[in-house]
């Protein structure tokens, strides 16, 4: 089952990289959202897939010989999802504010910090 998942992960990466290469911040933003899913699935798949048995132990307490899904990647991904969401929200608000302040959604026109014609920095002390 890992092999088809690997191909799906590749599609996720292809789409997100393509979106990242755009000049429009909104597309870059969509790319970022997809990239986090791509990475999560990458980690999930490399921890091997087990169908339908969640990593939850039976109430009895016997742990010998129990086969469950790998819990470690799940724990990693759970926090990754929440952090990726916070990050996504931050990027969203950042581009929203940038659009308001600079009046453009084209990254090539956002040249406040890196103007086209830069002046030499002051040469004094």
């Amino acid at each position: 089952m890992e092999v088809p998942m690997a191909f799906l992960v590749a599609i996720f990466f292809a789409v997100s990289i393509y979106l990242f290469l755009s000049r429009h911040i909104i597309r870059i933003l969509l790319g970022a959202a997809i990239l986090s899913n791509a990475v999560n699935l990458l980690i999930f798949t490399s921890g091997r897939l087990t169908r339908e048995i969640p990593p939850i132990l039976p109430a009895g307490g016997a742990t010998e010989g129990i086969v469950t899904a790998n819990p470690l990647p799940q724990a990693l991904i759970l926090t990754a999802i929440v952090i990726a969401f916070s990050f996504f929200a931050f990027l969203l608000v950042l581009s929203y504010r940038a659009y308001q302040e600079l009046g453009t959604d084209d990254t090539n026109e956002m040249r406040f910090a890196e103007p086209e014609e830069q002046k030499l920095p002051p040469l004094g002390y």
């Binding site: 990466f13 789409v15 990289i17 939850i56 103007p115």
Partner: protein, 789 residues
């Protein structure tokens, strides 16, 4: 060594830094009178080191320390012999006077507390430097003196000249420190020794090593920058931008003497070679002559003194490298004498400036009756500087000539250099001590008087000390000169010189110097204008060179920045992804780690494939969406498909979280996008589009290969089994994922929730920040705008 002494020494070494913490608060309480309290610190240090005198004068050494990084055999250890002790006494003794003097000189200054703090830290660094045993500790304190002197020189940071001088000192001396570090590490490598005390016992090992020359050059790089040897002397006169107490301290006992200390310390192991005995006298002699000539040209009291410091340092380096025991004795005596008279003269210059409001000798005169104590101290110090009896400088001068007057053409040349240098220093000494006090008082000069006791105490004490050490020369020699000279020479030395002149070559040479000095003094004005004309004719000096160097750095980095950061996001992104692809694929291909051809699994069920297909459709739809609603919905589709996949493969927790997050993402995306005309359309020309598609496909392929390779490797079950086995027994939880999150890896989660909260704060402040605020313009700071010295 007994246990008691080391711990006291450690306390004493840390004391200045502790005091620096409390100095601002004390100054707020007692204003300038805090100087009396803070001066207790150097008094304690002086007293502590004075208790070592009996032991050291018997030829013993005091050592102690603690392990610092045992794995690398790095210790925090100190070692006090005659050389270290003399320096420690000078640093703390003159330190007392400087702290007191600062209180008077900067009385009422709003940052006096900060100043005390800096000067105490500087004192502590200097003290640590001279008693360091381990190389690393030595280097740390060495750089600390550079940093603290940067703070002191730039104390008046609102003036550009101060900032320039501070930066210059830091660049030159800090850069030299890096040379020193390299040199010390090489010594460590060659000998396997990381401590001064052990190194001194390994005589001959370094001199015979094939790396001797490299070590020699690197150590000189450190010593010559710190001790301002020509042509790296320029930072020292510029350091005059600092308040006068700093100049007095930096130039007399500390900072600039650190380089001399280093040379003296390593003289037994690095000295006695042809390179040592050629390079040191050449640079030292050149510095001596250049320094005095430049000093003649100045009219500012402080600058005249500053340039004579340069020449005195040259003289010390010359004597250290001369290679005769007598010359070493002379260096030792001169170092002590110089600390006393230069410190006193600087404080006098500062006192005159403070009281009369000017430091220009052409505008000063007739202050003798107004400032009798200051005048007496200045006059006595000038005697010492000129090498006249009955002061300590006289002993040093006699010993210099006794040491240099050896058979041969080379010593004769150096003797001539010394006569010219000393003669010119004689001129400067008396110019500083006499011109402001004698003659007519010019009109418009402020009404002056001796002022606060804090102001004249320092020079007076130093002048008296200069006299007493000379009168009781046998005591001075027994306690100070002989142990120090022995440490520098690396073999027992005896010093006899006293105030009673014995007829000989040295006395004759002294006489020649004095006659030369008197003649030059009478023609001072003519000499000055001749020097000024010469310097104008030359036009360029290392000082301007420094400016050109710094501007060159700015220009080069500006050009590099223009290329690397062109302000185009596309370029950054392309570079990032291409590098990522290279980082994944190149090692894989080089080490032949490409995955085998994958086998399509037989057990894939239809609904699994269907969900994967939904995800793929959602993804493609995001790219081709023509309006923003389609894009948002498509984004939601792929997100929910991922949630379903998590559900199918035994991850209900992930699935729930993903559902919630995707819902919230869609909601906030919709909220933001409805307010903005952020159309997700794409206007890439077809060629560019093809290039981007290539990058994305190759990038995706790289990740595909990586993941296939990971899947084909054998799976290590250690961690999953550990968590499965212990989740119940030690963490009492059946949901293993949750147990990992809140128990096994709780500290990670703790960091992660902090990140979530910080993200929330950042977003709130982004939203709340007031719109359309005028951006602050970057202040122009061109050197041509502001007048520079």
């Amino acid at each position: 060594m007994d246990d008691y002494m080391p711990s006291t020494t450690l306390f004493v070494l840390l004391l200045p830094f502790l005091a620096a913490l409390f100095a601002p608060a004390l100054t707020r309480l007692f204003r300038h009178n805090a100087a009396w309290l803070l001066a207790i610190v150097p008094v304690v240090i002086f007293w502590h080191f004075a208790t070592f005198l009996p032991e050291i004068s018997k030829g013993e050494v005091v050592t102690g320390g603690y392990q610092w990084i045992p794995a690398f055999r790095v210790n925090f250890s100190w070692f006090v012999d005659g050389l270290s002790l003399t320096f420690a006494l000078l640093i703390s003794g003159i330190g007392v006077l400087i702290v007191l003097y600062s209180g008077g000189y900067l009385k009422g200054h709003e940052h006096l507390g900060r100043f005390f703090s800096f000067i105490l830290m500087f004192m502590g660094s200097m003290l640590g430097l001279v008693v360091s045993d381990s190389f690393l500790m030595f280097f740390v304190f060495w750089e600390l003196t550079s940093i603290t002197s940067f703070l002191l020189i730039g104390f008046d940071h609102k003036r550009e000249a101060s900032r320039r001088a501070a930066l210059q000192a830091l660049v030159v001396t800090g850069g030299g420190g890096l040379f020193l570090l390299a040199g010390l590490l090489m010594i460590w490598n060659v000998t396997g020794i990381s401590e001064m005390s052990l190194l001194l016992r390994s005589q001959g090992v370094l001199a015979d090593s094939p790396f001797y020359l490299a070590i020699f050059v690197l150590v000189l790089g450190g010593a010559f920058t710190k001790s301002a040897q020509f042509p790296l002397h320029f930072w020292l006169p510029n350091a005059m931008e600092a308040p006068t107490p700093v100049s007095a301290y930096l130039h007399s006992a500390t900072m600039v003497k650190a380089g001399v200390y280093l040379l003296m310390r390593l003289n037994p192991v690095l000295g006695d070679t042809a390179a040592w005995e050629t390079v040191l006298p050449v640079f030292g002699g050149a510095t001596l002559i250049v320094g005095t000539l430049l000093a003649i040209r100045q009219t500012d009291l402080k600058l005249m003194l500053a340039y004579t410091t340069v020449s005195s340092l040259g003289l010390l380096v010359m004597l250290t490298g001369f290679g005769h025991p007598k010359a070493v004795e002379a260096a030792v005596l001169y170092l002590v004498a110089h600390s006393m008279f230069k410190g006193a003269l600087f404080m006098v210059a500062g006192g005159i400036d403070h009281e009369a409001g000017s430091r220009d000798i052409t505008k000063l005169g007739g202050l003798m009756s107004a400032m009798p104590i200051t005048f007496a101290a200045a006059f006595a110090s000038a005697f010492s500087m000129a090498g006249l009896p009955p002061f300590f400088g006289f002993l040093a001068k006699e010993e210099i000539y006794a040491g240099l007057w050896q058979p041969g053409a080379w010593p004769l040349l150096l003797t001539l250099v010394a006569i010219v240098g000393n003669g010119l220093m004689f001129v400067i000494g008396f110019a500083v001590a006499l011109k402001p006090f004698l003659g007519e008082k010019p009109a418009g000069l402020r009404e002056a008087h001796d002022g606060l006791v804090l102001l004249w105490l320092g020079p007076a004490v130093l002048a008296v000390a200069s006299l007493l050490t000379a009168v009781f020369s046998s005591v001075t020699h027994r306690l100070i000169s002989i142990p120090m000279a022995t440490a520098v020479e690396g073999a027992p030395v005896s010093v006899y010189i006293s105030l009673i002149p014995h007829i000989g070559m040295a006395l004759l040479l002294s006489g020649i110097t004095i006659v030369f000095g008197i003649v030059a003094y009478r023609n001072l004005e003519r000499l000055r204008s001749a020097m000024a004309a010469t310097l104008t004719a030359i036009g360029w000096g290392p000082d301007q060179g420094f400016d050109q160097f710094i501007r060159g750095i700015v220009r080069v980095s500006f050009a590099v920045t223009r290329i690397v950061q062109n302000g185009r996001m596309e370029t950054y992104m392309k570079a990032t992804f291409v590098l990522l692809i290279v980082a994944i694929l190149v090692p894989m291909i080089l080490f032949d780690e490409l995955p085998a051809m994958p086998q399509w699994p037989q057990d894939v069920s239809l609904y699994e494939l269907a969900i994967m297909a939904i995800a793929a459709v959602g993804l493609v739809a995001v790219i081709f969406a023509r309006d923003r609603l389609t894009a948002i919905v498509s984004l939601g589709i792929q997100g929910f498909a991922v949630a379903l996949l998590f559900m199918l493969f035994g991850a209900p927790d992930l699935s729930f979280t993903q559902f919630m997050v995707e819902t919230l993402s869609v909601v906030i995306l919709a909220l933001a996008m409805t307010r903005l005309r952020l159309t997700p359309t794409d206007h890439r020309p077809i060629g560019k589009r093809l290039f981007d598609v290539t990058i994305s496909v190759v990038g995706a392929g790289a990740f595909l290969l990586l993941l296939l390779k990971v899947i084909q490797l054998p799976f290590d079950l250690t961690l999953p089994e550990f968590f499965t086995n212990y989740s119940m027994s030690i963490a009492y939880g059946r949901n293993i994922v949750n147990v990992i999150l809140v128990d096994f890896r709780g500290t990670d989660t703790w960091g992660e929730i902090a990140v979530v909260m910080v993200a929330g704060l950042a977003i709130l402040s982004l939203i709340r920040i007031s719109t359309r605020r005028p951006w602050p313009s970057i202040a122009t700071n061109d050197p041509n705008d502001e007048e520079r010295r």
